[in-house]
């Protein structure tokens, strides 16, 4: 039966090529626009740590003495709060994070000096965020404690400086200090770059050192996120009234998360009682809630998506109107079919098959337009341009959305067509 309906649909589509082309075009353009923006949205709002993001938490408190009535704590912490919470070791894993610009020279390479963003963190960073290693491994907790002059570098930087060979054990000059490379990462590109507190889509830093080491070798070059008084020595923020250090923790179950939340709240209360804090507001959001809270997806991308769906709705109305015209124009033919014994259901199914076929054709066009749209998005100078591609789920979504749209558009016209009164049509003939 389906094959017969398909044959009828093909004949009908061929009969009025202009109208068919109009409908296919409308669906294709609507699907192309929607899927382009939906794909970008899908890429940018994804989970950077699938399966583990529920156990990763972002503790926050409000060290800013100038905002005693703040509703929300500050995004990052001052040095003392961050180190206090970190050294208490109340979480399953915990990592301090700070980044700073530094001059990087490979002594045995002939490249001009680079100026790179250096990530300084503690050893839990690597297992907590499942950072993959190509050569060597991360530094040890001992290196953190001893301020060891060691570093982990990215795959990219290893290619650039050492031609991609195993560079573990070689020396890198960071600022004025020599550090020994202990590990080289595999390509690693979490999207978004979640561990940066302000939400970014850039690549992870190319150079990583122990937190304590980074503070020493790049002393005087740290940027604050916010200061409530001018620091005495710019760039040296350990005792400054500034927030600039990020803390991430891993808490394996809900009970631990609850306990940690109380721990952070108690810490804030205790700091307020000593007079260092003026506010006890704290938060402990898990990774996805935190990304949602800071609105990591650029607002332009969201706006484009809503715009595209409004456009798809217009295309949908357009297709409903055209399908209605098309089906009712064939009222005579449908009347004959009904008179010869086809049920209403059969006529309805036949019309829907025709609508679905238009959707399929529109889906092919929409897929091509989506590819073109994504190519355009990829050429924009954004941090995420290199990530733009159509993955399999989105490819399938394209066709599912196209067919769903056309079936939805075909529903009303098909109902109308199946209600054609056979006698009336036959009389006209």
């Amino acid at each position: 039966m389906f094959a017969y309906y398909l044959d009828l649909a093909l004949r009908s589509l061929k009969r009025n090529k202009v109208l068919t082309a109009l409908m296919v075009l409308a669906i294709a353009v609507g699907i192309g626009a929607s899927m382009t923006t939906l794909t970008v949205m899908h890429l940018l709002s994804g989970d950077p740590l699938p399966g583990r993001s529920g156990q990763i938490f972002f503790p926050q408190l409000n060290p800013d003495a100038s905002r005693p009535h703040a509703k929300e704590p500050s995004a990052v912490m001052d040095y003392h709060s961050a180190v206090d919470l970190w050294s208490a070791r109340r979480a399953d894993r915990q990592a301090l994070i700070v980044d700073s610009m530094i001059k990087v020279v490979a002594p045995d390479a002939t490249l001009p000096p680079l100026r790179l963003d250096m990530l300084s963190t503690t050893v839990d960073f690597f297992p907590m965020f499942e950072v993959p290693f190509r050569y060597g491994s991360s530094w040890s907790a001992d290196d953190d404690a001893k301020h060891s002059r060691v570093a982990v570098i990215s795959d990219d930087l290893n290619d650039k400086l050492f031609g991609g060979v195993d560079s573990v054990g070689r020396t890198l000059r960071l600022g004025g200090s020599d550090v020994r490379i202990v590990g080289v990462l595999k390509p690693w590109r979490p999207v978004p770059l979640f561990y940066e507190a302000w939400g970014a889509y850039t690549k992870p830093q190319d150079v990583m050192t122990p937190f304590s080491t980074g503070l020493e070798i790049n002393d005087g070059h740290f940027q604050q996120y916010n200061c409530w008084h001018i620091p005495d020595t710019p760039g040296h923020l350990q005792d400054a009234p500034c927030s600039w250090v990020t803390l991430w923790v891993q808490l394996d179950d809900a009970a631990k998360a609850g306990a940690y939340q109380r721990f952070v709240a108690d810490y804030a209360a205790q700091q307020k009682s000593t007079g260092r804090f003026t506010s006890t507001v704290t938060r402990l959001r898990n990774l996805m809630r935190w990304l949602d809270y800071i609105g990591v997806v650029p607002s332009d991308v969201r706006l484009q998506m809503w715009l595209a769906f409004a456009f798809l709705a217009i295309c949908l109305f357009n297709t409903v109107g055209l399908l209605l015209a098309k089906f009712l124009r064939r009222a005579g033919e449908l009347g004959v079919r009904r008179a010869l014994g086809a049920t209403r259901g059969a006529v309805f199914a036949q019309c829907l098959v025709e609508a679905g076929l238009i959707g399929l054709l529109g889906g092919v066009g929409g897929w091509l337009l989506t590819l073109a749209g994504l190519w355009l998005v990829g050429r924009q100078p954004t941090d995420y341009a290199d990530l733009i591609r159509l993955d399999l789920p989105m490819f399938l979504t394209t066709f599912a959305l196209a067919i769903a749209t056309s079936l939805l558009a075909g529903l009303l016209p098909a109902v109308r067509a199946s209600r054609v009164v056979p006698a009336l049509q036959l009389k006209v003939l």
Binding site: K103, L114, P234, F311
Partner: protein
């Protein structure tokens, strides 16, 4: 031409009429709001930076180990010798570049009365003239206005503020001689500038875009590495091409920041790139939207013309002219589009309210609605013209034939 028979004919096609009207309503809502979004972006892009953009460029060097004063002296004299260069001065930031001196100010020494978050331009001798700032009140900075920096800015300085900032801080008073503070730093207004945009966008939206303070500062350890280069506009590109090689000789130990070292015009282009792309996308959406709507009207009108061939023939046979038939379809289209527009205006307003909540947009100015309506009326008439002409061409003899 009577409207009544058209209305009663439309009543027979309620569903199709409603569909096309809804499509037009949605199109009207999206059209008005998309045009408004474009206008908002374009007006943001039209901002007056207050500096001679065609003649200026930023040169940025990073040098952690350099002696700052020595680096400044070497760069100022070295770059100044390049052909075409008119002046080189030290500055912490430039409009459309990275921000460097963003801080909250207060109107009292105790820090109780906040004046908002502003951007400080800590700028060395010669930079006022190089920027080409327009003075509204007060004198030009004198030699002894350039104070030595302590930490972030000079501890006590005469400053030049923009008119926008002066109007915000002291709406009804003469700003000259007024004081304000940033933490323990104390400033006294010596002059008012017509325009000077802050490096990046203001935190409080477009109204704060020009909350800038020009602080004459003596270059030194805390003010080095970032330079304002002024050249003959025609020679600026050549100077920028020559600069990296010259700097490699002048300051071999410094890392040249290629991304930041561009002309102010290029920095401006980069700064507004996302807005331009968004405006382009919106224009594309509007074009596609109008096209799809027009095609929908063409499709449905063609269908109705074909369906009514016999009736048209009969009307022609009993005396209707071609013009009557043409006008019939035009008026019919006008009625449907009008119905859509009325719905669409309400929808446009609702959509704008939604956008205002989500994106801090201002309210949609009312004149967008009639303009949007006019566009859709014209579009409807153009789209229906083809099918209506075909209808008008139906010969009266059709009436005598059966199908």
């Amino acid at each position: 031409m009577q409207i009544r028979p058209i209305l009663s004919a439309l009543r027979h096609h309620r569903l199709a009429t409603l569909l096309i009207a809804l499509e037009i309503a949605l199109a009207c809502a999206v059209l008005c709001n998309a045009c408004f979004l474009i206008a908002v972006r374009v007006s943001a892009m039209a901002i007056h930076s207050g500096v001679d953009e065609t003649a200026l460029a930023q040169i940025k060097l990073d040098c952690d180990d350099c002696n700052a004063s020595d680096l400044n002296a070497r760069v100022l004299s070295g770059l100044g010798k390049l052909p075409g260069v008119q002046s080189v001065s030290v500055i912490n930031a430039v409009p459309f570049g990275d921000h460097a001196g963003t801080a909250g100010i207060t109107l009292d020494a105790a820090g109780q009365h906040s004046g908002g978050v502003v951007d400080f331009y800590a700028a060395g001798p010669g930079s006022f003239q190089a920027l080409g700032l327009q003075l509204l009140a007060g004198p030009l900075p004198k030699q002894d206005d350039f104070r030595a920096i302590t930490n972030f800015l000079p501890a006590d300085a005469s400053v030049w503020v923009t008119r926008a900032l002066a109007d915000h801080l002291w709406p009804d008073a003469n700003p000259l001689g007024k004081e304000f503070w940033m933490d323990k730093f104390h400033f006294r207004v010596a002059g008012v500038l017509e325009h000077l945009a802050r490096p990046g966008g203001g935190e409080g939206g477009p109204l704060t875009r020009e909350w800038s303070v020009y602080v004459p500062t003596q270059p030194g350890a805390q003010l080095s590495g970032n330079y304002l280069l002024r050249a003959e506009p025609a020679q600026l590109q050549q100077v920028l091409r020559d600069a990296p090689a010259a700097l490699a000789k002048i300051a071999p130990d410094a890392v040249f920041d290629k991304m930041a070292s561009r002309s102010i015009g290029a920095l401006r282009d980069g700064y507004f790139q996302a807005d331009r792309a968004m405006a382009g996308i919106l224009i594309g959406v509007i074009a596609a939207l109008l096209l799809v709507t027009a095609l929908g009207i063409v499709g449905l009108a063609s269908f109705w013309v074909a369906q009514r061939r016999r009736q048209i023939g009969i009307r022609r046979a009993i005396g209707a002219t071609r013009g009557d038939i043409l006008r019939y379809f035009q008026i019919e289209n006008f009625l449907i589009v009008t119905f859509g527009i009325v719905l669409g205006m309400l929808l446009a307003y609702a959509l704008n309210l939604l956008l205002m909540m989500q994106y801090e947009l201002p309210r949609l100015p009312l004149y967008y609605l009639p303009v949007g309506a006019l566009i859709l009326w014209v579009l409807g008439q153009l789209a229906v013209l083809g099918p209506a002409l075909r209808a008008a061409a139906v010969p009266p003899v059709v009436a005598t034939r059966s199908v």
